[in-house]
C-alpha cells in the first residue's frame, strides 16, 4: 500500500474515507479549494470558483453521510465545464457574449450530480462556445497544460482536463462534440469518456453542434470516470434526443473480477484501423499506442486489423455539420434578451452587428460565417447534404467494423499538446487534429481516451478506445483492466506532486 496524498486519491478511496468519517466533505472540499487557490493562477483552468456555495454543499453532504444516505458521489468534489447551466452561478461558455449570464436553472447533468450529493467547486474554462481544440479561444484566456508551462491543455474541455490532471479536483464534467473530452484527456494524461449520443441529456447544456454534442466525464482513471458517468446518465423528457435506457452502475460492473486474472481481457477482440497509423502520425505517438496494443494483447485481448474506408473524409464532413449547426445555435445570442449588448448603436441591425461582433471571438465568428455559408441557398446541397451523406457512410463503416470486433483502438490525437499560439494562424491544421475523434461523434458512438505513454518532451499520449452503441461498460472495463496492469494513469505532473499537504490516506 503506497500512501498517496488525499488530493490524489481515487474516488473509491475518497468514498471509503468519507463513509468511515476519516475525513469530512467540508475538509475534503477545503483541500481542493485551497489547491485551486494555490495553483489555478498558473493553469487558468477555472472561470468561476464558488467557495461559499461549495462549502454549503459539502455541509449538506456531510449531513447526508451522517444519516447513512450517501450515494457513490455524495461529498465528492467535482467541477463543471462552463457550458453546463448552473442556477445562480455565472455560465459563460468562455465568451464575452455570456460573460454576464446567470442561468435560472440547472442543466440536467448538474441537477443529477446535485441529487447525488456531489460538491461542485466551480466552472471550468474552455474554448469559446466549445469551439476549438486548444482552449486558446476562451474570453478568459488560455488554459495551461499542467505538464508543461507554455503548452496548451487541449480542448475544448481543457479546463476540466487540466484541473483533474493537476488534482485541483478529483473528477470533472465535460462535453465532446468532435473530441472535446478525449483530446484534452489525452493531452493532460488523464482518462475521459464520451458516451453514446443520447445517453446524457443535453438539457441546460449550451449547444455547440446539437447532433454531435454529448456530455462526458474526466477522471484520473477509468474507474473514476465510471463513478462520474453513472451519475450523469439517465432519461430526460426535456431533451427529445435523450434515450430511455436504464442507468448502469459502471463502477460496480468494472469492479467485478475477471475469470482469468492473468488474462482479464480474454475473449475481447480489438479492431485496429491500420490506416490511422500510417500517414501524418507522429512516431512517438505510434510507438506509445503500439506499446499499449501489445499490453492489451498481453492481457488476453486479440487484435485484428480493420478497415474504415470513409473515415478519412470525416474531418470535412464533421466541420460542415458542426459549423452549420453552431451558426444556427448561436443566432439566439442577439443582445435582445440577455448576454452582451453593444453600448451604442444606430438601429436594430446595427445593434445585432455590434453586439455579435463584440460578443464573439474570432474562431466563433469564423464558424458562424462558414456555417451560414454552407446552409445558404444554392450551397446547401453541395455542402450540408453531402456532409450528411458522408456521415451515413462513416456510420456504416463503424457498423461493419463492429461485426468483426468488440472495440476499436487507435491514437486519440495525431499530436501531443503544442505550444501556446503555435497553431493559431492555421485553423485548418488544428481542425485536422480531430481526425481520430470526430468520426466517433458523427456516428454517435462512445469513445474513451486513456494515457498510454509520454513523448520525449514529457507530454502525455492518449489511446482511444471506440465502442459500439451503449458499450460504455465494455470500454470502461477494458481501460480499467489495462490500468490495473499499468501505471500511466498514475503519473502526475509536477504541479500535482509538489504540494506539501500532509493529509494522506491509504490507497
Amino acid at each position: 500500500m503506497t500512501p498517496v496524498p488525499i488530493f490524489d486519491a481515487p474516488v473509491s478511496a475518497l468514498r471509503r474515507a468519507l463513509d468511515e468519517k476519516e475525513i469530512s466533505s467540508v475538509e475534503l472540499t477545503n483541500i481542493f479549494l485551497d489547491r485551486i487557490e494555490a495553483f489555478d493562477p498558473e493553469l487558468n483552468a477555472f472561470i468561476t470558483v464558488d467557495r461559499d456555495r461549495a462549502l454549503a454543499e459539502a455541509r449538506s453532504a456531510d449531513a447526508r453521510i451522517a444519516r447513512n444516505e450517501a450515494d457513490p458521489l455524495t461529498g465528492i468534489p467535482l467541477a463543471h465545464k462552463d457550458v453546463f447551466c448552473t442556477e445562480g452561478i455565472l455560465t459563460t461558455c468562455a465568451s464575452r457574449m455570456l460573460s454576464n449570464f446567470v442561468s435560472p436553472y440547472d442543466a440536467h447533468v448538474v441537477s443529477l450530480l446535485k441529487q447525488a450529493g456531489a460538491v461542485s467547486l466551480g466552472k471550468t474554462n474552455l474554448d469559446e462556445f466549445a469551439m476549438g481544440s486548444s482552449c486558446e479561444t476562451s474570453y478568459y484566456g488560455p488554459v495551461i497544460n499542467p505538464w508543461k508551462p507554455g503548452t496548451i491543455a487541449g480542448g475544448s474541455s481543457g479546463g476540466s482536463a487540466a484541473a483533474v490532471a493537476a488534482r485541483l479536483v478529483p473528477i470533472a464534467t465535460g462535453t465532446d462534440t468532435g473530441g472535446s473530452v478525449r483530446q484534452p484527456a489525452a493531452f493532460c494524461g488523464i482518462t475521459g469518456i464520451k458516451p453514446t449520443y443520447g445517453l446524457i441529456s443535453r438539457y441546460g447544456t449550451i449547444a455547440c453542434a446539437s447532433s454531435l454534442d454529448q456530455g462526458g466525464a474526466f477522471g484520473a482513471s477509468a474507474e473514476d470516470c465510471a463513478f462520474l458517468l453513472s451519475s450523469m446518465t439517465g432519461f430526460d423528457t426535456r431533451d427529445s434526443t435523450s434515450l430511455d435506457r436504464p442507468v448502469e452502475n459502471y463502477a460496480a460492473i468494472i469492479g467485478a473480477g475477471a475469470p482469468d486474472a492473468a488474462r482479464p481481457l480474454d475473449g475481447l477482440t480489438i479492431g485496429v484501423p491500420r490506416d490511422f497509423f500510417s500517414t501524418g502520425l507522429n512516431d512517438e505517438i505510434r510507438t506509445a499506442v503500439e506499446g499499449a496494443l501489445a499490453q492489451y494483447r498481453a492481457l488476453g485481448a486479440s487484435l485484428r486489423d480493420i478497415d474504415l474506408p470513409n473515415v478519412r473524409l470525416a474531418v470535412p464532413a464533421y466541420y460542415v455539420i458542426a459549423m452549420a449547426e453552431a451558426s444556427s445555435n448561436l443566432t439566439k445570442f442577439d443582445g435582445v434578451r440577455y448576454g452582451h449588448r453593444a453600448a451604442e448603436y444606430a438601429d436594430l441591425v446595427d445593434m445585432y452587428c455590434k453586439s455579435r461582433s463584440e460578443g464573439f471571438g474570432a474562431e466563433v465568428q469564423r464558424r458562424i460565417l462558414t456555417g451560414t455559408f454552407v446552409l445558404s441557398h444554392g450551397y446547401y446541397d453541395a455542402y450540408y447534404l453531402q456532409a450528411q451523406k458522408l456521415r451515413r457512410l462513416i456510420t456504416g463503416d463503424f457498423e461493419r467494423a463492429f461485426a468483426e470486433c468488440d472495440l476499436i483502438a487507435c491514437p486519440t490525437s495525431p499530436a501531443t499538446a503544442w505550444a501556446l499560439g503555435e497553431m493559431s494562424d492555421d485553423p485548418v491544421q488544428m481542425y485536422l487534429g480531430d481526425i481520430y475523434t470526430s468520426p466517433v461523434n458523427l456516428a454517435g458512438l462512445p469513445g474513451l481516451s486513456h494515457p498510454c505513454g509520454f513523448n520525449a518532451a514529457g507530454l502525455p499520449i492518449g489511446l482511444q478506445l471506440i465502442g459500439s452503441y451503449f458499450s460504455e461498460a465494455r470500454l470502461l472495463t477494458a481501460a480499467h483492466r489495462f490500468q490495473q496492469a499499468t501505471d500511466w494513469h498514475l503519473r502526475r505532473p509536477p504541479i500535482a506532486g509538489s504540494a506539501h499537504i500532509p493529509d494522506t490516506i491509504d490507497k
Partner: protein
C-alpha cells in the same frame, strides 16, 4: 381590353392556431390576454441550453385535419429551422416544417353564393404543416423604444396551403369560411379571428383568359377578417390588371393591406426576400406517425359536415339547401340534431324551419351565438310538438317562443297552459263565434255570396280576433265556408 379578359388566380395560406393548452415545444400556457411575457418560459424566451419538446396534442390536431381533408398523413415528417433575425423571434429561427410536412394533399368542397347562382367547387390542398408562432413587438408606450411580448412565441400553428385553385375573391372568401368552419368543426382551432387564431395570406395573380402560365404573383400578408380578405384581393386584382393594361409590369412581392385606405402596399420584393437557410432541426427527431396513432385519432373524429349534410337529406328528407344551412357550423348542427332528437325525426322539417327561421332571426337580433341561445333545443322541440299536434297555431307558437326566450317559463306547455293559449278546437264554441261574426257582418257575407272570395278572409279574421288567436284558422275557414254555402 376589359376586366373580363383577365382571369384571377388565388391561392391561400391560412394560419390556424391549434387549441392546445400548452405551446408546441414547451409547457407554457397558450391562453390569450395574459400580462406580457407572463406565459413565456425559458424555452420560449430562447435561453441558452433550452430544448424543444414536441407537444403531441398539436400533432394529433394535424392528424385530425389531414383525416378531415382526405389528405395523406405523412408517416415521417421533419421539423426544420427557418432562420432570420427579428427581436420577437427568440432563437433567431422559427421551427417549422419545410421539405416533409405532416399533411400532404387533400381537398375541400366549397359553395359560393346562395340562391339560383350558387355553385360548388373543389379546392385542392397542397399541404398543411406544423410550426411555432413568433412573439409580438410592441411599438407604442415605450418612449421611443420597442417592447417584446413573447407570450405568443411557441404557440402551435397549422399552416394550411391551398393550390392556386380559386378564381375570384368570392371563391377565396368561401374557401376561407369553409376552412374556418371546418377547423372549428373538428375542434382543432377556436377560430377567433380578433385574437389572431385564424389568419390568411392570399397569393394573387392575374393572367389573360386562356393563358396557361401563371402571372406574377403578389402575396398579401396577414388578413384577419373575411371582409379584409375580400377587399384586399379586389383591390390587388384591380391594381394588377390596371398596371398590366397600362403596359406596366411588377415583380413578385409581399404586400400589406391597409384597412384604413383599402389599399395594398409593397412590403418587400422577391429580391429582398430572406435566405431562410432551412435545415432539419437537430434538437428534434423526425416526427413518426404510426398507422395505429392515425386510427386512434380517426376513432375520435366527429361526423364531418359533408357526411352530415348527406345524412340530413337522406334520413330526414331535408332539401340540399336546408341540409347545407344546418351544417354550416358544428354548433348549428348540434342544436338542430338535439332538437330533432327531442321532437322526433318526423318533425325534422319543422325543426329545420324554426332553427333557420325564428331562432336564427332572434339570435341575430340579440347578437348571440347559437350556443348561448336562451331557448334550449329541448324547449324548442317541446314547442314544435304543440304546433305539430295542432294545439297552437304558428302565430301563437311565435308568442310562446318569445316567452321562452325571455325566461317566462320552463317549457312551452307551461306557458301555453298559464296564458291560456291553447287553440280552440271545440267546434261548438267555434260555431258560436262564427254565427256571431256572420250576424255582425252582413255586408261581408253578401259580398262572399256574390263570389268575392276575399270577403271570407275578413270573416275568418273576425273569428280569430274573437278567439284571441286561439282558434285554428284552417278549421274556422272550413266551418265558415260550410255555413255560408249551406
Amino acid at each position: 381590353m376589359s376586366r373580363s379578359d383577365w382571369e384571377v388566380v388565388i391561392g391561400l395560406e391560412i394560419h390556424a392556431q391549434l387549441n392546445t393548452a400548452s405551446k408546441i415545444f414547451s409547457g407554457a400556457s397558450t391562453a390569450f390576454g395574459a400580462q406580457p411575457n407572463a406565459q413565456a418560459c425559458a424555452v420560449d424566451i430562447g435561453l441558452p441550453g433550452m430544448l424543444p419538446v414536441l407537444n403531441r396534442g398539436a400533432v394529433e390536431r394535424a392528424i385530425r385535419f389531414g383525416l378531415a381533408l382526405g389528405s395523406r398523413v405523412a408517416p415521417k415528417s421533419i421539423f426544420a429551422r427557418k432562420s432570420y433575425f427579428y427581436p420577437d423571434l427568440p432563437n433567431g429561427y422559427q421551427i417549422s416544417q419545410f421539405e416533409q410536412p405532416v399533411v400532404q394533399g387533400g381537398a375541400i368542397t366549397i359553395r359560393i353564393g346562395d340562391g339560383e347562382d350558387a355553385y360548388e367547387k373543389t379546392v385542392r390542398l397542397t399541404r398543411a404543416h406544423l410550426e411555432e408562432d413568433a412573439g409580438k413587438s410592441l411599438h407604442e408606450d415605450f418612449h421611443g423604444m420597442s417592447g417584446i411580448d413573447l407570450n405568443r412565441a411557441g404557440t402551435p400553428l397549422l399552416e394550411i396551403v391551398s393550390e392556386p385553385d380559386m378564381r375570384s375573391s368570392a371563391e377565396a372568401v368561401a374557401y376561407a369560411r369553409t376552412m374556418h368552419a371546418l377547423v372549428r368543426w373538428i375542434d382543432i382551432c377556436d377560430g377567433n379571428m380578433q385574437e389572431g387564431s385564424f389568419r390568411c395570406d392570399a397569393n394573387v395573380s392575374v393572367r389573360k383568359k386562356g393563358a396557361e402560365a401563371f402571372g406574377t404573383r403578389r402575396e398579401i400578408k396577414n388578413l384577419n377578417s373575411f371582409r379584409f380578405l375580400q377587399q384586399a384581393i379586389d383591390f390587388e386584382v384591380g391594381w394588377q390588371i390596371e398596371t398590366l393594361e397600362d403596359g406596366g409590369s411588377f415583380v413578385q412581392a409581399t404586400v400589406l393591406f391597409d384597412p384604413a385606405t383599402g389599399q395594398t402596399r409593397m412590403m418587400r420584393s422577391k429580391e429582398d426576400a430572406h435566405d431562410y437557410r432551412y435545415f432539419p432541426d437537430p434538437d428534434l427527431l423526425p416526427l413518426v406517425i404510426e398507422p395505429e396513432w392515425i386510427e386512434r385519432v380517426r376513432a375520435t373524429m366527429p361526423e364531418l359536415p359533408t357526411a352530415m349534410k348527406a345524412r340530413f337529406e337522406r334520413e330526414l328528407g331535408l332539401s340540399a339547401q336546408d341540409a347545407g344551412a344546418l351544417t354550416v357550423t358544428k354548433e348549428v348542427a348540434d342544436y338542430f340534431q338535439a332538437a330533432v332528437a327531442a321532437a322526433g325525426a318526423a318533425h325534422a322539417k319543422l325543426c329545420a324551419n324554426w332553427v333557420m327561421g325564428e331562432l336564427a332571426a332572434r339570435l341575430n337580433k340579440a347578437g348571440l351565438e347559437i350556443v348561448c341561445a336562451p331557448v334550449s333545443p329541448a324547449q324548442l322541440a317541446g314547442l314544435l310538438l304543440r304546433v305539430a299536434d295542432g294545439s297552437i297555431s304558428n302565430a301563437i307558437a311565435r308568442k310562446v317562443f318569445e316567452a321562452l326566450w325571455n325566461g317566462e317559463g320552463d317549457g312551452a306547455d307551461e306557458i301555453i297552459e298559464r296564458q291560456g293559449l291553447k287553440q280552440v278546437t271545440d267546434s261548438g264554441a267555434l260555431e258560436a263565434m262564427i254565427d256571431e261574426a256572420i250576424a255582425a257582418n252582413p255586408k261581408s257575407v253578401e259580398e262572399f255570396r256574390a263570389g268575392k272570395e276575399k270577403a271570407l278572409n275578413a270573416l275568418v279574421g273576425q273569428v280569430m280576433k274573437a278567439s284571441r288567436g286561439k282558434a285554428n284558422p284552417a278549421q274556422v275557414n272550413e266551418l265558415m265556408r260550410r255555413k255560408l254555402c249551406a
